[in-house]
Symmetry: none
Subunit: 210 residues, 4 copies
């Protein structure tokens, strides 16, 4: 009587739909984007979406899941960066990729807004955030650049501050004119990243000459 959710069958279709959904969600918001918008963006019929997702809510949840994966991947890339500064640069510019626009500011802000009234989404986003913060905490703990006492703040505290800044900058990004290119946004983010890094991890002596 109702067993959609082919789940694994034809994962490409699911991805195709989620890709389209991301575009629509970023453009209009979760609840303003219609299923028709998504199907049109994906180049398929409305009905087909329902073979892969139980309903719109499920599309949103899947997008949230995908966000989790993307943050994971971003974290992995950050982990493999040669320096702490470069790790932070990755963290702060993840949403500024012209060609692979996976993490999109507007989408993320909407995701948090949704979290505020959708407990399952809130759980997931909270989990993502915590995982990412833990990752950065570890990154800091291992970084030689961070070995000097940084004003008495623990790696955990620092990670929290860093993420707050990153999320705040994401909110600001949403205010920038749509015409601004990914490259310009990126430049803007890097400025802040470097300032933050200098503040948090540069030794006094170095600062003096910076």
């Amino acid at each position: 009587m109702s067993q959609p959710q082919i789940e694994s069958s034809n994962p490409d279709r699911r991805s195709q739909i989620l890709d389209a959904a991301l575009v629509c969600f970023a453009k209009r918001g979760f609840h303003q984007a219609s299923m028709h918008d998504i199907s049109a963006e994906a180049g398929i019929s409305v009905g087909l979406i329902y073979r892969y997702f139980e309903n719109k809510e499920a599309v949103i949840s899947a997008m949230a899941d995908r966000h989790k994966q993307e943050i994971s991947e971003m974290l992995e890339r950050a982990r493999q960066a040669p320096s702490l500064l470069e790790s932070l640069e990755i963290l702060f510019t993840a949403h500024c990729c012209e060609n692979e626009p996976r993490v999109i500011s507007a989408f993320v802000v909407d995701l948090y807004a949704e979290a505020s009234r959708n407990p399952p989404v809130a759980d997931l986003v909270r989990d993502v955030l915590q995982t990412a913060m833990d990752g950065v905490t570890e990154l800091i703990a291992r970084a030689p650049e961070a070995q000097n006492a940084t004003n008495g703040l623990s790696p955990t505290d620092l990670a929290e501050l860093i993420f707050a800044v990153a999320r705040g900058m994401l909110m600001f990004d949403v205010l920038r004119p749509h015409e601004m290119t990914a490259a310009e946004r990126r430049e803007r983010q890097l400025d802040v990243t470097r300032r933050l890094w200098r503040l948090l991890f540069k030794r006094e002596a170095e600062v003096a000459y910076a």
Copy 2:
């Protein structure tokens, strides 16, 4: 066809409606909250809303305007605080007022989400943000606590960082369980505020003994 928008006539009614709208918007989001929800929350009829606002969009805009005022008031209070730390505390806890919950995290996050697709709202929010940042920049420039070179960051840079952290913390606030009280949220925010303050403005010598 008609001439609604009595604009100034009976400002109490407008406030009453906006009060109700804030509750509804925070609870369900701009576009999920229906005009009926708002009228019910305000204890009036749907039609009456249209005597004071041209349409739903106008209610949203008015809410954005109100947000501007609230941020202004918050800034004024911050200006009058006896110390920079206390100014920051005001800035970071503006949304944690049990009795007068004007600035509400969920509402603000929704406002930024709306800004990402509604240029007039974006303009207004950008303006609010810039004004507030300018205010904090000035606060820093005048604060004796900030007279020492803080890692070579200008007051403007510092204000931007501070606001990014504040907005990021607002996003995090949205993830906290609804059961958490204003007092608890406030405590959480103050922790971060103090850490940030110590990082930005405490002199090395002081830090050593902190």
Copy 3:
């Protein structure tokens, strides 16, 4: 957030809608009749139906309730008939009223079909049937025509048989061409009614000369 069901306010509208629904349900069946069909038949907009009924299911339930009332009224009329035969005639021809087409065969058959898969409707219909059968049982118990032992059947048994015949004839009625007039249907029903009456209640001696 959801409080339709003005329930008592403007009962005329409710009746108007139910009148239209009866026509549509009889014409196309509960689930084939669309809300648009009903609104068009009632000469109102679709949305308006939802001010008076929570959803389509509620319209169906209200129709079932109305059926209960109609059967009640029918029973009352039967009770006031001067003879048992005339009571039965009322019972068997209730659905053959040109101008006041309240009890309609197709609708009733659909109602029973619905009852088979909708427990609340089943409860209601069962209750209606039982009440009506009790009424007829009492009618028989009090009728002088029924005083002679009728083949050893109790009034209860007789009432059950009578109702079975009445419902069976209703099913047959549904097979008759739509062109057949109410008068013709009525004639057909009266034939059966009289035969049944003769069988159940006429004394042997009378039968011989009938």
Copy 4:
């Protein structure tokens, strides 16, 4: 465009599909049961149904045809019963077969409901009914038990009454809780059958001592 309706090819497939359809139709009704429901119940794909039936309408028609056959078979069994009472018992309990539930009350009621708005179905059902009534008329005409004048009613009249009762009882059956077993339903039907039989065919003298 294509040429479905292999008609006779692979009659087993057709039966398999109709078996599944009966289950679904009884459970949900003709129009509430989806083609997918039927295919799932039959354990085949949706598309395959269309190799054997032109469309859903055709499935319904085929079910009606099958009903015709089942009534035929039932009639045949009734004809071969050793007594008129036993014939009637077969007639009244045809739908109470635990293992081979071919004639199902809910289905039959739905069939009549469908007949009321689908002329071809009405024609068929009317034909089935007439044929069956003719059969019973003949049964009565030949039965020694019915040789005594039964209140002046002709075999035709009696057959009509009998069928009305049978169909009426079918409608009542639909109201009984789903938990009731076939055996219990059967018992209920037999009670009525015997009462009816006694009323119609038992001689006065016999009745006196019954």
